[in-house]
């Protein structure tokens, strides 16, 4: 791969922080095929994006999770020792309310293998999950009723995913059931 100069590269000067208010999730073992990581990319740009779509198994789909504005973020941390470095993506989400559906989601996913797709304010998607590793519920932050009437009632969740490299997901997100045979 040839290295290249890296300029400011902001499209029309846009660079808002934060995540969109919709996070997409599914069960890791419901995924039929995964996008592929770049192999021997010719440029830095190609080295930063996966190719292809996440395709679900027949009868399965991805789902949408609402998050409060300015309460979701994606942290990208470097992990590992010298010559063994990788990344840990931490997806923080705050779902308002303590309704039964949300509690059911927490109960069902706390020990589950998951996959997430989060979109940032620039419209760029990040996939948490790959063929060999899932995203996991790792912590709850700020969950509960809040202590004052102007506090926040709801569920703060953190999901973690570790990977060798970090990429932009350039595919589509199916919110409708897949059909066909495996």
């Amino acid at each position: 791969m040839d290295f290249a100069d890296i300029g400011k590269l902001l499209t029309d000067g846009k660079n808002l922080g934060g995540l969109a208010q919709r996070i997409y999730f599914g069960l890791w073992y419901d995924v039929l095929t995964w996008p592929t990581d770049p192999s021997g990319p010719a440029s830095l740009e190609l080295a930063g994006a996966q190719v292809g779509d996440i395709i679900m198994k027949p009868g399965k789909r991805m789902f949408e999770l609402y998050t409060t504005e300015d309460a979701a973020k994606l942290d990208i941390n470097v992990i590992g020792e010298e010559a063994g470095k990788g990344y840990e993506l931490l997806l923080h989400v705050f779902a308002p309310g303590l309704h039964k559906k949300l509690l059911g989601f927490m109960n069902a996913t706390k020990n589950e293998d998951l996959v997430f797709i989060a979109m940032d304010s620039a419209g760029q998607n990040y996939l948490l999950g790959c063929e060999i590793r899932s995203a996991k519920f790792s912590a709850s932050d700020g969950s509960g009723t809040g202590s004052t009437t102007d506090g926040r009632r709801g569920f703060g969740m953190t999901f973690a995913f570790r990977a060798a490299n970090i990429y932009v997901y350039t595919g589509n997100i199916p919110l409708t059931e897949a059909i066909g045979s495996v």
Binding site: Y24, D53, I55, R61, T170, G171, N172, I173, P174, L175, T176, E177, A178, I179, G180
Partner: protein, 86 residues
Amino acid sequence: MTWTDYFILIKVQPGRIVTRRFGTVDFSDPSLPVEKVQALFEDDFPYLRITTQGMETLYPMPPLAKLPSKKMETSTPARKPAKRKA
């Protein structure tokens, strides 16, 4: 004519897909603009296949141009006179 005359949704039930280009698109809606679906198709969207009617209407083949008729050579070209050896 609706987009479903020109394209078939494949691999998934009709419903919502978050697309890279247009955000969430509901493919159970027959009133989606054909241009929008066509743009997705041209983006290599993996959930669309074009119909024969779509191919004929949206990507018509230009009629083959008539080739100019070439006259057959009837006479043999004049031969160059052979060089005499000195």
